[in-house]
């Protein structure tokens, strides 16, 4: 077929541009809400009371133990219509990513917090700090530094995982690549183009995390 790849890319450029914005938006939503919710779930799981920590353990088990793709379908065709009365791909996509991310972030945070030596808390407590103060001023600052690298990994996979949202016709990058591929019956041009865009996004993310790590490093 005499279709010039550059012509098709130029034709789809506005869609790839808006698709990139959606991908970035989905990823940001997942990162922000996922981290906040993840922190909450993490503390919930660490409660020293089986009845209270049980729901949080269930949450992590479900969202880590089932495929994100399936979660997206359940949330888009089940949860969102049941709650809001109509489906909304963008809302469902952001929701699914955030809920899924929270489960992983919770585990990363728990590992970080539990890696801080028990003696630190004991020392803080003996200086008269409350449990909460010890957590806030002694343990958490050290834990955050330790969890930065694994968090960066999570964020990078989150950007890539957002491509699954194409399944519910949310207009992000992969969705437009599939539209382009279907229209011209081609494979290489759409998918290599978005691979390149995803690479830029993930590299930017790892650059940002690296800088943050360096800034927070102790000399």
């Amino acid at each position: 077929m005499g279709v010039n790849p550059l012509d098709i890319i130029r034709e789809y450029l506005p869609f790839f541009a808006s698709g990139t914005l959606f991908t970035v938006g989905f990823s940001l939503a997942g990162i922000v809400f996922g981290t906040l919710l993840g922190l909450l779930v993490c503390f919930g799981k660490m409660i020293n009371n089986k009845a209270l920590s049980w729901p949080f353990i269930c949450y992590i088990t479900f969202f880590r133990g089932t495929p994100l793709y399936v979660q997206i379908l359940i949330i888009h065709f089940g949860v969102v219509p049941a709650v809001f009365g109509q489906s909304n791909g963008i809302l469902a996509g952001a929701l699914a990513l955030s809920l899924n991310e929270a489960a992983y972030i919770a585990e990363v945070f728990r590992a970080g917090i539990q890696s801080i030596d028990e003696g630190q808390t004991e020392a803080a407590r003996s200086l008269g700090m409350s449990k909460l103060q010890a957590m806030r001023y002694i343990v958490l600052p050290q834990a955050v530094r330790r969890v930065l690298p694994p968090m960066g990994n999570e964020f990078i996979s989150l950007i890539k995982d957002s491509s699954l949202i194409a399944a519910i016709a949310a207009p992000e990058l992969t969705y437009w690549a599939q539209a382009m591929g279907a229209q011209y019956a081609i494979v290489w041009t759409p998918y290599l183009t978005i691979s390149f865009i995803y690479l830029i996004l993930t590299l930017t993310m790892s650059f940002l995390v690296n800088r943050l790590e360096r800034r927070m490093a102790t000399k």
């Binding site: 065709f77 219509p81 489906s87 016709a169 599939q178 279907a182 019956a185």
Partner: protein, 271 residues
Amino acid sequence: MIKKLSVLSLLLAFVLIFTACSSGSGSGSSSKKAATKKVLRVVNDATYPPFESLDKGKMVGFDVDIMKALSKASGYKYKLVNVGWDPVFAELKSKTADMSISAISITADRAKTYDFSKPYFLSTNKILVAKSSTIKSAADLKGKTIAVQQGTTGQAAVEKIVGKNNPKVKKFKTINLAIMEMLNKGADAVVADNTVIEQYARNNPSKNLKVVEDKDAFEPEFYGIMYPKDSKLKPVFDKAIKKLYSDGTYVKIYKKWFKVAPDLDTLKAQQ
């Protein structure tokens, strides 16, 4: 060590079971003289009832039966493989499959890249909406959110009316997801081949759906078997299709799946 071995053997057993399952299903019938001919790889997207869908893991549908009959008439053995809609096109383009029978409409665009058989089915795009909907014609679709299956002529027909890549056209991988989107009020209408949405509306009376026809906006379409460009199989199966028309097999299969008689004259006029 023993524990490791048992885990390994368990894994191996799984792999064996899976490969056995996948090679066991989907192979078709054959006749004796076909012994020397190669087994054709026939691909489809089995998410499109009543043409091809999975019923408890078994592929069933109008196209599936037609393929069986064509194989009998032509003497070719075949293996029907469900690969998904986009991969159907990718496989034929790269010639990793020999042909596809998957409710594919013959279009000038597709004919540039692929070869088509003589038509074996007549179809029109129609609009599926809620009974209470105000949509009465294709022109009413303007400004509405419309769900379609990606890469289908339904999508093309809609985009001709509302503009290409209009953000209000939601493209889904399968027709079922598109219909579900409408049932969840994420879209106002679904545009797809009449047989598919008519059957859906008929089989799901509780959903309160109706089918809107617009003969002026949506032209009749013909389905064809699709081959890679310059396929040698085309004349063989064109002859087989003709045979199904003349010996009554086609009418029998058509009535089995659509409960009405086919418009054989229009189809024969296309031969």
